[in-house]
Symmetry: C2
Amino acid sequence: MLNFEFSNPTKIIFGKGQIKKIKREIATNHKVLLMYGGGSIKKNGVYAQVMDALSEHQIVEFSGVEPNPSIETLTKAIALVKEEKVDYILAVGGGSVIDGAKFVAAAVPFDGDPWDILAKGAKVRSALPISCILTLPATGTESNGNSVVTKRSTQEKLPFASPLVYPKTAILDPEVTFSLPERQVANGVVDAFVHTMEQYLTYDVNAPVQERFAESLLCTLIQEGPKALSNPTDYDVRANIMWAATMALNGLIGVGVPQDWATHAIGHEITALHGLDHAQTLAIVLPSLMHHKRDTKANKIAQYGRRVWGINDASDDVVIEQAIAKTAEFFETMGVPTKLAGYGIGPEAVDGLIAQLIKHNLTAIGEHKDITPEVARAILDDAAA
Amino acid sequence: MLNFEFSNPTKIIFGKGQIKKIKREIATNHKVLLMYGGGSIKKNGVYAQVMDALSEHQIVEFSGVEPNPSIETLTKAIALVKEEKVDYILAVGGGSVIDGAKFVAAAVPFDGDPWDILAKGAKVRSALPISCILTLPATGTESNGNSVVTKRSTQEKLPFASPLVYPKTAILDPEVTFSLPERQVANGVVDAFVHTMEQYLTYDVNAPVQERFAESLLCTLIQEGPKALSNPTDYDVRANIMWAATMALNGLIGVGVPQDWATHAIGHEITALHGLDHAQTLAIVLPSLMHHKRDTKANKIAQYGRRVWGINDASDDVVIEQAIAKTAEFFETMGVPTKLAGYGIGPEAVDGLIAQLIKHNLTAIGEHKDITPEVARAILDDAAA
């Protein structure tokens, strides 16, 4: 096992009817920016529950945070926070709204151009406090210090991380996910699955707790994912997916083990250039990446095939082939195509994607830093059709 | 899944050579009480590492915290803290030292008789900050808010819990466990195993993440425990046991699921009356409790038998019998006898243990509150020989 440090200060409040508890989590002397997306929270009752719970708070609203939140939109929120002297942000929505809130929280006290936090890795030295009410289980952002923001004008999608932007409290009520569109449910399951794989499918450092925890999440997502599509109001199914997605990226399963975020790195470029949903890009890249990195990942792919998929063949080669196929099949079963062609994107797009990776210095990625632009090209060529 | 709230503020610093980092975790303006046990930290080099790291701090030492820390001893520490105006406690040792530190931290600002915190459940309203350097993986106290203290004069062993006594930082260096006596290693593995079982072996609430996480820890302890005895300086083995023991009782695997702490409740009385090691009492009670509660725990014991022990029989009854036998066998393999007779205690001791349970109002324990004194008597009678 590798040395590590781990702490996760976010308080999770999980379950039915828990949204009202946000009242006791934010002191009434705070002026709160309520950030949300396209207005679905007004249809599913979440907005009303929040406003009811915060009836004693001073609230300023900022709506319209889009999927893959843009700095163009968030800059307006930053201006509003400064103008209204807001001192607390409550994000109500999915990963995009919460990621957007984290950026706003860090940008408001930032001295300089906030884009530098993303583009130049400028250090975040202070941030407004954030809490969140999660409506879409997927990214894990509800209890981590990560955020991804897009600049539409230059088609760049970049991450930042800071311990200062962990939400103080995250409320997770699985019932609010009953009304999600199928595509968002499927995307969430795929996203959480790939987060887990990127902290698991590397090389062995003798860390059985972390490996088995990862396998626990993968098994749960495989078991519960399709049920969420076929029976959208099954509370336990929704609860299990929601908890698995949080655990997939709260830092725990990745302690003391090597990680490989190449699928995310390549996927971000597909979203930036072609506007695909984040999870769609992961479903395209991961199976092809597994195929092309099967030399260095062989032991772990075989373990994954046996423990997660129950493939019993004595030959590692057979298990590995089947495990990769099962992975792609699972994404397809969730309604998420695993080839660029499935989204109407032709093989000629690969050049542009490789150019983006080079532009962002992502020329040596993966746990061995051996996914060069050439390897990424092979992965994307295979993922084309 | 049941509703839950979860947060764990302890920062974990894990790995080789990490003890020196305690320096940056405690501000130098604190006056620190260094609490430890019988002096083994002076032999294994931990004391020297700590003193070196804290060379710029003002330190007051308190040694001699015994296994199953007593209020008689801890009262002296409380007096020392008040006299020396100490404002931070650093516990260096195993569960007993850390539990003792938690009690001292809560007792110092307590208004009244501190024993009331244990005997009357008096609320802890403030506590001195604590950090710890763990030398014995077992109890999980390094990252939870629980503590157990014994009053020797009345032979009582009672717990308390407060969010205020979570250690701020816990440093876990597996190398410091190389020199532990076999008995302590074995006890630690058994303790962590039983903690996991008590949050797992109840009834089904459809919580696959929690169940599989628990199974992950059980598999790890079964795999690594005997290796720690046969090859005490294998770093990865020690690291895996240490991390499993922390995860077994940091609150995570028990969120949203029913719990059954009857084994601990009964075990505490055995330690209080007969002075057995904590883990020894758990090894005595658990297999017998599984046998006597196999009606209400049948599904989970069968799942445990199949997933954790790989027992493949089609009959649940066969799997359950074998799973109970395997559990006792595992404890015996670790060198921990599973019958009272193994410690020279005769069946006539059962009366006294039942009287203690009644005295402490532990007359309806277990996840269904159906372990009455009669059931506890049957469990102990069977555990006698």
